[in-house]
C-alpha cells in the first residue's frame, strides 16, 4: 500500500489541480490493475463499505497500545481525526509484508465473516506491519471513511491521460453500473465505444461577466435578452431513444432527475438542448441549495421529488434531427427552440425580454430579484454556439450582490484536515429587542492570515465551548456579501442566504452599528 499512501499524501498536500492530476497519473502508471480499479471506485463515490465501527477500532487501539483512555482522548483532541489518532499512537511497526491496496481491501472485507476475537487478532497483525501513514488509510478502510482529496472530474482527466481515451468517454464509462468486484480495469474502460459516442455532450459555451457599461455593446437591437436563472447549467440530450443529462462539469446527472424521463416521449429524437436544471414549484424557482440533498444522495427519494421538483429551462438547441446546429446564428436556433415550447410541464423555454434601450436593460437587471434571478443574459443575435468562456458574444449582466455588516458570534474549528484552526464563523445582526441573532455561517472570503489571526483571537476571547464550536465576545464586525436571500422556517433569523462570503473585516467597525434583522427582512421583498 506504499504507493497508495504516497498518492494520498500528494493529493493531501497540494490544492493545485494540475499537480493532483499528475500525481494520479503517475500512480496509475505504477499501480496494479486491481488497485487502479479500487482507486477509481473510491474517487467516484463507490468506496468499500464499513467493516468495523470506530468505537470498536478505538477500543482495540487502546488495548494494543496499552494507553489509558484519557490520554487517547487528549491525543484525539489534538489530531482531530480518529483513524489518524489511532495510526499515530500505536507503537512503531515491526515491519513485514508489503501488500497492495486491493489486498488490504479484501482483507478488511473478509473480516466481516470472522468472530470478534479473530477480527481483533487480524487487525493487530495488520497494524504491526504498517508505518503510521499506511495504518491511517487501513483504519479509514475498516471504518468506511476513506476520502481522497480529489474531485471525480480531476480523476477523469487523469484517467483519460493514462488511457489515452477522451474525457467524456471516460466519464460515460464510469457512470454505468459497475463495481470493482465485477469488472476489471480493461472491461470498465475499453468496452462499448459506440454507446459512449451516443451520449456525448457538446462543450458548453459560457458567458463572460459584463463589467463595463452596457452602452459599449453598441446597438441594442443586435442583442437578445433573457433572465439569468440560477440553477445547474446542463445539456439534455436524446439520441436513439435514450436520455442523457450532463452538467457543465461533464458529470452525467440523468439518474438524479427522473422528472426528465417523460421528455423521451414529448421531444423528438436526435436533439441536444442547452439550459438550466431549475428547482421549481408553484410557478416559482426555489433556492438552488434545496437541490443539494438530491445531488449527494445515491438515489432520489419520493420525498425529494415532491419537495423540490425540477424543470428544465431551455436556452438553446445545439442539435436537431441529429445534426449539429452550433454554427447557425442564435436567432435561427431560437426559432427551432420555440417550436418545442408546448413540450410539457417539465420543459420551459427561457423567455425573451422586450428591451428597447440600455437604460431598460439596466432597470430590468435591477428587478432580477423579483423573479428569483441573478441578472440578465445578453447574447448577440448573430452568435454561433462557441465553446468555453469567450468574450464578445455572450454576457452575463449580474445584479450587484447584497451586503450587510454583521457581528462575529461563533467560531467553529475545521475538521480533521484543519485541526486547531477556526475556519467557519457564524455572524449575527441586531433584532428589534436589541439581541444579536445569528443569521449566516461562512468562512469563505477570509485569507489564510486572517484565519490565523482570528484563531488566535478566538482562543483568548471564548465565552463558551460547545464541542468544536466556541461562542466569542461580540467584538468584531465583518461585511458579508451574498447573492440572494430566502425565507426559512428552519432558522431563528427566518432567513437563509445564497452564497454568503466575507468581503471585508471592518477593523474599525462598531458592534452597535452592525446591521439589523429588519434590514435583512427588507431584502426578502
Amino acid at each position: 500500500m506504499k504507493n497508495f499512501a504516497q498518492l494520498f499524501a500528494q493529493l493531501d498536500q497540494t490544492a493545485k489541480a494540475p499537480e493532483k492530476v499528475a500525481a494520479l497519473v503517475s500512480y496509475f502508471e505504477s499501480a496494479e490493475a486491481s488497485d487502479k480499479l479500487w482507486t477509481i471506485a473510491m474517487l467516484s463515490r463507490r468506496p468499500p463499505g464499513r467493516v468495523l465501527t470506530t468505537a470498536v477500532l478505538r477500543k482495540w487501539a487502546l488495548e494494543y497500545a496499552n494507553l489509558p483512555n484519557w490520554l487517547f482522548e487528549e491525543s484525539y483532541k489534538m489530531v482531530g481525526d480518529l483513524a489518524e489518532t489511532i495510526a499515530l499512537i500505536l507503537p512503531p511497526a515491526a515491519g513485514g509484508e508489503e501488500h497492495t491496496l486491493s489486498y488490504w481491501i479484501d482483507f478488511a472485507r473478509a473480516l466481516a465473516e470472522n468472530e470478534e476475537s479473530e477480527k481483533k487478532h487480524a487487525v493487530f497483525k495488520a497494524w504491526s506491519y504498517m508505518p503510521p501513514d499506511e495504518r491511517f488509510l487501513f483504519n479509514k478502510l475498516l471504518t468506511g471513511g476513506l476520502r481522497l482529496g480529489m474531485s471525480q472530474k480531476l480523476m477523469i482527466m487523469a484517467l483519460a491521460q493514462h488511457t489515452g481515451l477522451e474525457e467524456n468517454l471516460v466519464a460515460h464509462r464510469l457512470i454505468s453500473e459497475w463495481s470493482p468486484d465485477e469488472s476489471s480495469f480493461e472491461e470498465l474502460l475499453f468496452q462499448g465505444e459506440e454507446e459512449a459516442a451516443l451520449s456525448k455532450p457538446y462543450p458548453f459555451f459560457l458567458a463572460y461577466p459584463l463589467e463595463q457599461d452596457p452602452q459599449k455593446l453598441g446597438e441594442v437591437h443586435e442583442w437578445q435578452f433573457e433572465r439569468k436563472w440560477e440553477g445547474i447549467r446542463a445539456q439534455l440530450i436524446i439520441r436513439q431513444g435514450q436520455l442523457f443529462v450532463w452538467s457543465r462539469a461533464e458529470e452525467l446527472l440523468t439518474d438524479k432527475f427522473p422528472e426528465y424521463h417523460s421528455l423521451l416521449e414529448s421531444l423528438p429524437n436526435g436533439i441536444a438542448l442547452d439550459g438550466e436544471i431549475l428547482p421549481f414549484k408553484d410557478g416559482q424557482p426555489l433556492p438552488l441549495n434545496e437541490l443539494h440533498t438530491r445531488l449527494v444522495r445515491k438515489s432520489v427519494t419520493k420525498k425529494a421529488l415532491q419537495e423540490t421538483p425540477v424543470i428544465f429551462k431551455a436556452y438553446d438547441v445545439l442539435e436537431w434531427q441529429g445534426s449539429d446546429l452550433r454554427t447557425k446564428p442564435l436567432t435561427a436556433r431560437r426559432e427551432l427552440l420555440e417550436q418545442l415550447a408546448p413540450a410539457g410541464e417539465v420543459l420551459h423555454v427561457s423567455e425573451l425580454l422586450e428591451i428597447e434601450s440600455w437604460e431598460e436593460a439596466m432597470q430590468e437587471r435591477d428587478k432580477a430579484r423579483e423573479y428569483h434571478c441573478g441578472g440578465l443574459m445578453i447574447k448577440r443575435k448573430s452568435s454561433p454556439y462557441r465553446s468555453g468562456r469567450k468574450q464578445g458574444d455572450w454576457w452575463k449582466y449580474k445584479v450587484p450582490p447584497f451586503t450587510i455588516d454583521a457581528v462575529l458570534l461563533y467560531a467553529q474549528r475545521g475538521d480533521g484536515r484543519k485541526a486547531n484552526l477556526y475556519t467557519e464563523f457564524t455572524f449575527a445582526v441586531w433584532d428589534e429587542e436589541g439581541q444579536l441573532v445569528p443569521f449566516t455561517k461562512t468562512g469563505s472570503g477570509l485569507t489564510e492570515s486572517e484565519l490565523f489571526e482570528l484563531t488566535e483571537w478566538v482562543r483568548k476571547n471564548t465565552v463558551e465551548r460547545f464541542g468544536p464550536v466556541r461562542s466569542v465576545k461580540p467584538e468584531f464586525v465583518f461585511e458579508i456579501e451574498f447573492d440572494g436571500i430566502d425565507r426559512s422556517t428552519r432558522h431563528k433569523s427566518g432567513v437563509t442566504l445564497r452564497a454568503p462570503r466575507v468581503v471585508r473585516w471592518r477593523r474599525d467597525g462598531k458592534v452597535e452599528e452592525a446591521g439589523r434583522l429588519t434590514g435583512l427582512r427588507e431584502m426578502l421583498k
Binding site: 498536500q13 487528549e74 491525543s75 481525526d81 484536515r417 484543519k418 485541526a419
Partner: protein, 335 residues
C-alpha cells in the same frame, strides 16, 4: 527551602542566587542554549557552555558579561555545585545540574534523544528532581529517523529540480537550518540561504562546524542555476516580499507538528516534513526513566498530560509554572 523555585522571573535557585533561562531581566542567569526564548535580553551576567557562547554573544552583542564552561565542568556558587551536560537539542545546548548538600536537581532545557550529528549527543544525568520539557508530550508524536526524513527532503528537492522549481525550505535559523543543510545531497544543485541563516552558519562554522557551501540568496547569486537550487530561510521570510525574487518554487516546512495531516495542510507550505529538535514521546519517557528521579516537574507543551501520565507510571510529577506560561508562549516556543 527547595533547591529550585518557580518564580515569575523563571526557575530560581535561592541558595546560589541564580536563575535558569529567566524570562525577565535578572543579575545572574544560567542559560541552557541560544534560542531566543531561553537566552533572553537584559540580564547582567550569563553562564553557558563554550559551544553555546558564540551564538549567544552574536545575538546579545558585547554589552552583557557572558562566561562559559565545558560540558561536565563544575562551578560552585555559595556551596551549590553547578555543571552543564549535553542536551542534544542544538549546538552547545545543555541540561543544567545543581547539587547542594547531596541533593541533585537537573533542568533539561530543550532536548532530543536522537543523535543528529551536529549537537553533542544527549546524556542522561542521574538526579533526585528532574525538570523536563514536554513540547511533544503526547503519544501521537513519534519521529522517523533523521536519515529517512533527510531522504524525503532530498527526494523533494530532486523532484522540484527536475521541474525547474526552486525548493524553499522554511526552518529556524539556529538548529534545524544547519541540520538540514548538513545532509542535503549537494549533487542535486546549488544551496542558498537567507541572510538570517547565513549569519548563524558563519558563527557556527567559525567554531568548527562543517557545512556545505551555502551563500546568501542575493539576486546576483541567484542569477545562474537558481531553478534547481535549494534555499533555506526562516518561516517569516517565506511569508514576506523576500520570496518574490524566486520565480517558480515550492515551499517546504520542517517541524514536529508536521506529524499530523491537519497541521500539514494548515501550514502555508507545499510540503511538510516531520523533523524536530525536541524529544518525541518515546524520547521523553526514556529520558525521564534514565534520570532515576523521584520527582519530575514538566514544562512547555503538553505539561498536564505528560505529568498525569508519569504519575500513572508511578513517578511523582507535576506541571511547572503553568501560571507563567499561557497558551501563547507555547506557540512561540522555538521548535
Amino acid at each position: 527551602m527547595a533547591l529550585l523555585e518557580f518564580t515569575d522571573k523563571g526557575i530560581y535557585c535561592p541558595q546560589a542566587n541564580v536563575y535558569i533561562d529567566p524570562w525577565k531581566p535578572v543579575s545572574r542567569a544560567l542559560i541552557t542554549h541560544g534560542h531566543a526564548d531561553h537566552a533572553r535580553w537584559g540580564n547582567k551576567y550569563y553562564l553557558c557552555t563554550h559551544q553555546a557562547k558564540p551564538v549567544i554573544q552574536y545575538r546579545l552583542g558585547n554589552g552583557p558579561r557572558i562566561e562559559s564552561v565545558a560540558y561536565g565542568e563544575e562551578r560552585t556558587i555559595n556551596g551549590v555545585q553547578i555543571s552543564f551536560h549535553p542536551a542534544g537539542h542544538i549546538v552547545g545546548s545543555a541540561q543544567i545540574r545543581l547539587e547542594y548538600q547531596g541533593e541533585v536537581w537537573v533542568v533539561s532545557g530543550d532536548y532530543k534523544t536522537e543523535h543528529d550529528g551536529i549537537a553533542t549527543p544527549f546524556e542522561p544525568v542521574k538526579c533526585n528532581v528532574f525538570i523536563t520539557e514536554s513540547t511533544f508530550g503526547l503519544p501521537v508524536f513519534r519521529w522517523k529517523p533523521q536519515r529517512e526524513v533527510m531522504q524525503e527532503i532530498n527526494d523533494w528537492w530532486r523532484g522540484n529540480a527536475k521541474e525547474g522549481k526552486t525548493s524553499i525550505m522554511m526552518a529556524y535559523s539556529l538548529g534545524k537550518a544547519q541540520r538540514i543543510l548538513k545532509y542535503l545531497d549537494t549533487r542535486i544543485g546549488k544551496i542558498f540561504t537567507h541572510g538570517a541563516v547565513e549569519s548563524v552558519n558563519k558563527v557556527l562554522q567559525s567554531q568548527g562546524l562543517k557545512l556545505p557551501p551555502a551563500p546568501k540568496a542575493t539576486i546576483d547569486n541567484l542569477r545562474n542555476g537558481m531553478e534547481s537550487s535549494f534555499v533555506i530561510a526562516p518561516p517569516s521570510a517565506v511569508n514576506s516580499n523576500w520570496v518574490h525574487r524566486f520565480k517558480e518554487y515550492s515551499t517546504g516546512f520542517a517541524s514536529g507538528w508536521m506529524a499530523m495531516n491537519g497541521t500539514r495542510s494548515r501550514r502555508s507550505a507545499d510540503r511538510g516534513f516531520m523533523l524536530s529538535d525536541h524529544a518525541d514521546w518515546d524520547g521523553l519517557n526514556e529520558a525521564v526513566l534514565a534520570t532515576g528521579a523521584e520527582k519530575v516537574y514538566v514544562m512547555h507543551g503538553y505539561t498536564s498530560q505528560f505529568a498525569k501520565w508519569l504519575n500513572e507510571q508511578g513517578i511523582w510529577a507535576a506541571e511547572m509554572g503553568s501560571e507563567y506560561h499561557g497558551e501563547q508562549s507555547e506557540e512561540t516556543h522555538t521548535e
